[in-house]
């Protein structure tokens, strides 16, 4: 069967590993073979975190450069930083949130404006979805659920070999009881936004 390669990126603390786990659980529940490459240790201290989720006939977790079907980024600049994983068919799904590193606050480096990053991302390919997932998460009950909003958008692309319901079940299994409602709302908001955007952009 075809392999689906997903790169999930962002900044340490954004819930990147948990999105990977939800996706992996859902793949497993769909009787698909899945491997997840995780990041532990020093890299998590405010640095770039990216994980890989690979679904299909594979034996390893590393997504090769140029072979991502989907790059999902919880932070805008990180979506662009991960461009080495892209090919002309790849989906790029990014949150519009920008997390400014201390070096920029200190005046040692510049951080491009959202419009500049968006333009650069558009230059990489057709299938780019840029969404204010943090806002959608806030409207769903908590900003922290931005990662689950992003998961909803990813499902909207239809690029995953997993049913929507299975992902919902995996979300429910992974989050604490009191946060289930917020997360399901966030997922639905992401899914709707993704579908709207895809229709609008005629992708």
């Amino acid at each position: 069967m075809e392999t689906t390669n997903i790169v999930i990126t962002g900044v340490g603390g954004q819930g990147i590993i948990l999105v990977s786990h939800i996706l992996a659980d859902a793949a497993k529940a769909s009787d698909l073979s899945v491997y997840v490459g995780e990041v532990h240790g020093m890299a998590q201290r405010g640095g770039v975190v990216h994980t890989y989720v690979r679904i299909g006939d594979i034996y390893s977790s590393l997504v090769p450069e140029g072979e991502a079907d989907i790059v999902l980024s919880l932070e805008m600049g990180e979506a662009y930083r991960a461009r080495n994983y892209l090919n002309s068919e790849s989906w790029v799904i990014t949150n519009q949130r920008r997390i400014i590193p201390l070096s920029v606050v200190k005046g040692e480096a510049d951080y491009p404006e959202a419009e500049e990053i968006e333009k650069a991302l558009d230059g990489l390919g057709e299938r780019t979805l840029s969404v204010d997932a943090t806002k959608l998460a806030r409207e769903s009950g908590s900003e922290i659920a931005e990662n689950v909003v992003m998961l909803g958008i990813m499902v909207a692309t239809g690029a995953l070999p997993i049913e929507e319901e299975t992902i919902k079940e995996a979300i429910v299994d992974r989050v604490k009881e009191e946060w289930k409602e917020v997360n399901l709302k966030a997922f639905a908001a992401g899914l709707q936004k993704g579908q709207d955007l895809i229709a609008e952009l005629e992708l």
Partner: protein, 629 residues
């Protein structure tokens, strides 16, 4: 928990490190030990989590050498033991490790070593396979989490059969890959053993070692027979005249990419990789025109295979690192393996990757930083100020550092690490700077690292009367590897089985005359004490003690306490920038009216109030419990 309650015959998604634990349970392991170290830490952490519900003994040992010794002794008494460590941990353990190859074991012993190609969390990318050759110790190398589980089990069986320890070698990409693992039966350990005295075997005096070395060579000859016939070494034959020999995660990449070529490629995966199965390899390559050796890091197999084939008359062309088809540096990727194979096959590849040479925008790097509210920041801030005041008109002090979260003190703005070699080296190296220069010498070591490698070095400093200042950064946990306990930090509820060893009693007992304990949250007082310590002639020790803010806040949330955040009166901010330039807390950002504190990032330590008079704590914004996934 699935790991211990999962259904036999079913598949579960496990991290490679967790799979090792499952394998050990299925092998009926009696005893396990570890000093945490990325990428191996989750082995010990998982054992620690499940130990109350299982029948094995587990301990976090003070360092890898002690860990290996506990495991070796248990195995010599007839138990099945496991010691896990990262690659550089084996350096620490190496003295006893070498001897265990000579003495062998009576039960079974598995030494799990996780290498870190590309140095994701390490100071080097040394190749543990060379240790297997140095010690003459058999080695198994899984490529996937499921193989990690199976081969842990196999390693126990092999160790018992050969009567010597076996190394299970992992790499970061196996330890930290989550994949499907099929469960077998858990075996309950058999219970206590009786040690039978046998000095000619277990006491390697020169006279005994003379015979033990010969016995070791005999065991390794037997091991080679086993590796030649082992089912762990898999041949996947194909019609073509090109083949690959590979091991570890690189073998998984080779399996994946060879299918993409029209020409059929044979693959020999060496999982029982030392002793190298010589007959199997000769047999495999005898039908080939070309063979590509795919192994990460050093050309260990390639050199051995080239020398194995020399003079045999087998005419196969060998490709690999020595032919410059593959690099000796950093971890491999499927792409790298594909390109090497294409070159050997003489196939042109189309690169599907986007051309991104011309970058539209520059995204600044995002290096790891000390967390907001980290007590190490306060300590470094105070030390650097104190040292500056004490060394006016003199050359800068020499700062020696060590391994932990506080290694980040090497980065701006503190730049308070000039020299670092290994765990514990912060203290050992002070003597050299103190005697070779006239500069002040200031050393930083964490609490867990102090117990791991600092103790003999501190005795050396005291005994030889070096004029140095030692700062022990005590956050009461082993923070960087995932908040494990250590001898100086016993958590609530662990008191019954563990005893806390006081750092100040230990230091005082060694005879240090200048010893102070400070709370770095109080930056001004800390700075004054540091000044006294730096001015003191002789060995001065300051224990800078405040809990890791992440652990502290987790406790606060569990107790239902509010975490009070800091806020700047932005309208009064004149952007003097001390908070970001000198103190460098990542919670600060530049708002429309001046500098501001990100309420989501602030951990509410409140120490920044001593850096800026415009900062206050306020009560409404308790940290929300992590709700999102």
């Amino acid at each position: 928990m699935d790991l211990i309650n999962g259904v036999v015959g079913k598949e579960y998604l496990l991290l490679g490190n967790e799979a090792v634990v499952r394998g050990a349970l299925e092998a009926g392991m009696d005893i396990a030990t570890q000093y945490p170290g990325t990428p191996s830490s989750e082995i010990g952490d998982t054992l620690w989590k499940i130990k109350e519900d299982c029948d094995f003994y587990y301990e976090y040992s003070t360092n890898e050498k002690v860990s290996l010794e506990v495991a070796a002794a248990a195995a010599s008494a007839g138990a099945r033991s496991l010691a896990a460590m990262k690659h550089v941990g084996l350096n620490v353990a190496s003295d006893s490790f070498m001897s265990t190859a000579y003495t062998g074991v009576r039960g079974a012993m598995v030494i799990v070593v996780a290498d870190d190609p590309s140095m994701h969390s390490s100071q080097n990318e040394q190749d543990t396979r060379i240790y297997s050759r140095l010690a003459d110790m058999p080695m198994l190398e899984p490529a996937t989490p499921n193989e990690a589980k199976e081969m842990t089990k196999e390693a126990f069986e092999l160790s018992e059969e050969l009567g010597m320890p076996v190394i299970l070698r992992l790499t970061t990409r196996i330890s930290h890959t989550r994949g499907p693992v099929s469960f077998g039966e858990i075996k309950v350990p058999e219970g206590k053993k009786e040690f039978i005295s046998n000095p000619t075997k277990f006491v390697p005096t020169p006279g005994n070692a003379y015979h033990l070395h010969r016995e070791l060579k005999e065991r390794i000859a037997q091991a080679k027979k086993l590796s030649n016939s082992s089912e762990l070494n898999r041949v996947e034959s194909a019609k073509g005249r090109v083949g690959i020999i590979s091991s570890s995660v690189a073998a998984a990449y080779a399996r994946e990419v060879k299918e993409e070529f029209e020409q059929e490629v044979s693959l020999l995966t060496l999982a029982f990789s030392y002793p190298l199965p010589d007959d199997l390899i000769k047999d495999f390559v005898s039908d080939l025109d070309k063979v590509l050796i795919v192994e990460e890091l050093e050309p260990v197999m390639e050199k051995e295979i080239r020398s194995l084939l020399y003079g045999t008359g087998i005419e196969v062309e060998v490709f690999g690192k020595l032919s410059a088809h593959l690099p000796e540096l950093y971890e491999y990727t499927p792409k790298l393996v594909r390109e090497a194979l294409a070159e050997v096959l003489g196939v042109e590849l189309e690169d599907s990757a986007l051309s991104t040479a011309e970058s539209e925008v520059e995204i600044p790097p995002r290096p790891p930083v000390m967390c907001a509210g980290c007590p190490h920041r306060h300590s470094y801030y105070a030390v650097v100020k104190a040292a500056h005041a004490c060394t006016k008109g003199e050359p800068d002090p020499v700062y020696t550092g060590d391994i932990g979260c506080y290694t980040l003190g090497a980065a701006p703005p503190f730049m308070a690490i000039d020299y670092l070699l290994s765990m514990g080296s912060s203290i050992g190296t002070t003597g050299g700077f103190a005697e070779a220069t006239e500069q002040k010498v200031i050393s930083f070591i964490g609490d867990s690292t102090f117990f791991h490698g600092g103790l003999p070095a501190l005795v050396n400093v005291i005994h030889n009367q070096h004029d140095i200042t030692l700062v022990i950064l005590d956050n009461s946990t082993t923070a960087m590897t995932g908040h494990q306990p250590h001898p100086g930090a016993v958590k609530d509820g662990e008191g019954a089985s563990l005893r806390e060893v006081s750092i100040e009693d230990t230091v005082r007992g060694m005879g240090v005359e200048f010893l102070e304990v400070v709370d770095p949250q109080n930056i001004e007082e800390t700075e004054e004490i540091f000044k006294e310590a730096i001015e003191f002639e002789g060995v001065s020790v300051v224990i800078s003690r405040a809990p890791c803010i992440l652990v502290e806040n987790r406790f606060k949330m569990e107790r239902g306490e509010e975490i009070v955040k800091c806020k700047i009166k932005e309208e009064d901010c004149v952007e003097c920038d001390v908070c970001v330039q000198k103190y460098a807390c990542p919670a600060f950002y530049r708002g429309p009216d001046g500098l501001a504190i990100d309420q989501a990032l602030c951990n509410g330590c409140g120490a920044c109030q001593q850096v800026c008079p415009l900062i206050d704590l306020f009560g409404e914004g308790a940290i929300e419990e992590e709700g999102g996934a």
